[in-house]
Amino acid sequence: MLAVTGLNVFHGNIHVIWDLSLHVERGEIVTLLGSNGAGKTTVVETLFGLNRSASGEINFLGENISGIPAFEIVKRGIAFVPEKRELFPKMTVHENLELGAFGREGGHPEYERIFELFPVLHERKSQLAGTLSGGEQQMLAIARSLMAAPKMLVLDEPSLGLSPKLVEVVFETIQRLNGEGLTILLVEQNVRHALEISHRGYVLEGGRIVNSGTSSELLDDANVKAAYLGM
């Protein structure tokens, strides 16, 4: 579904992503792992047209999408839940959802389905997004991206700053969405949790993919254990 080959990204003069290649197949949950500063966010921002790549190809559903602006990419079926769940804090929950469906061409926004998935959002429909709790904001960020009826969802550190209980809820939601047929690329620092729900994973260090494999392979890998699982 998504295939990235030979991606190089610079921030000014600094080479931050080196020859990165990865692929995500239909129906999969794939995790991109790595510690702070490994370049995870840069990768997803580049996928999403918010960063320019120096070279490399990003192929989605057989089309090269590198260099296409973000608002066009949404229309092609990739939705992005950014790090720190950036919402429109001074707008209501409902308006935030409405904005999620903005790029959609044709079809009616599926508020019922979203409110069924996230009942709490229905209760808080007319509340300002900025007044929601952290967990609710994360739910809203995910719900908003679903409003675009994406074929693939990219989540950048959805567990960031949430209590363990809420992390649990967020990961369950992700798994449930995947069960309903949504393809997911998950970017996480919470390695154990992320691998437990995903099919495959890539390990990013210093802007390079240093390891990849199925989740069970990675969970058993000595380096991964030592570096990320503290074993």
Binding site: F48, L50, P69, A70, F71, V74, K75, F80, P82, E86, L87, F88, P89, K90, M91, T92, E95, E98, L99, G100, F102, G103, R104, Q127, L128, G130, T131, R144, A148
Partner: protein, 320 residues
């Protein structure tokens, strides 16, 4: 619901006052002129405020106000059409220039944007007084047809009602825009442009749209003003004319529909009231001080006064 009903009563009250005030026996020609200018500036401030709603600030809106005036008067003089029609053609010209200026501006932010719009107003003024002096009369300007011919009995009253109706239509149109998809997109761009893009909104397209509509409405206001006075000079591009809509909008409430209306009415009453009491020059200082106090103590403007008196509520939406 209570709030909603209160708002409706206030709105109806304002409409009734607006409709009947000119008919009261105390209303002389001076007062009628003040009211007419007040309405024109309600339109002008609303135009500026629409641009501000999209997160763009302009320090040179006089460019559009003035161009609307020049274009409308030239069309009226050359075609013999009534200014009641040509003001819209003038506004269309202003919108066209707004689109061109917008193309250079939409990628700029905050101070850079403000300075570029400021610069454009100066450039346009300079072109009018120098290169185009042969047709514009340079600094002296020229006489233009009155909106309603002064031969007609009670022409000023007719003029008032004509402008009153345009004011209502303008505000309704802006309300319609803000409640639509366009308004949603503009608010999203203002709140978080990066996120807006991630939501599938093309910021450039919508900012340009806001620029063009704002220039159109400002152009209408400019046309109304010069056809009211019966003459036009390049002073119409002056700094003062760029700053009034900002002062009105901030005083009333930035980014709200009612803000520019309330702000314009309040400041105008004060401005002309002080003049009546002979404080012609002091009023600049008084208005200046009041503006500073408003920004410090009432940053959301006069429209937020009502909320101040209510009990603490959960976060109130700044805009709309």
């Amino acid at each position: 619901m209570e709030r909603r009903r209160l708002k409706l009563y206030l709105l109806l009250g304002a409409l009734v006052i607006g409709a009947f005030l000119p008919l009261l026996p105390v209303t002389n020609l001076y007062l009628l002129t003040v009211l007419i200018l007040m309405l024109i500036f309600v339109i002008y401030a609303s135009a500026w405020n629409l641009l501000a709603y999209s997160g763009q600030g302009s320090l040179g809106h006089a460019a559009f106000f003035g161009l609307g005036g020049y274009a409308s008067s030239m069309i009226a003089l050359n075609s013999g059409l009534s200014p009641c029609i040509t003001i819209f053609a003038g506004a269309a010209f202003s919108a066209f220039v707004g689109l061109l200026i917008g193309l250079t501006c939409v990628r700029l932010k905050e101070w850079f944007l403000a300075m570029v719009t400021f610069g454009f107003a100066i450039i346009i003024q300079t072109v009018i007084v120098s290169m185009l002096a042969s047709i514009t009369g340079g600094w002296d300007g020229y006489a233009v047809p009155k909106l309603i011919s002064s031969d007609i009995h009670h022409y000023l009253l007719w003029e008032y009602y004509f402008i009153f109706i345009i004011t209502i239509i303008t505000i309704l149109a802006i309300r319609l825009i803000l409640k639509s998809r366009i308004g949603l997109a503009l608010a999203a761009i203002r709140e978080n442009e990066l996120e807006a893009r991630a939501a599938g909104i093309d910021p450039v397209q919508f900012k340009l749209l806001a620029f063009t509509i704002s220039a159109f409405i400002a152009g209408i206001a400019g046309g109304l003003e010069i056809h009211h006075f019966g003459y036009i000079t390049p002073e119409i591009f002056g700094v003062e004319l760029s700053f009034w809509p900002i002062i009105y909008s901030i005083t009333g409430g930035l980014g709200t529909l009612a803000g520019p209306v309330i702000g314009t009415v309040a400041v105008s009453i004060l401005w002309d009231g002080l003049n009546i009491f002979g404080l012609t020059y002091e009023r600049y200082i008084i208005i200046g001080i009041l503006l500073i106090l408003t920004i410090i103590y009432l940053p959301r403007g006069l429209v937020s006064l009502g909320e101040r008196f209510e009990e603490k509520r959960e976060g109130v939406r700044d805009f709309r």
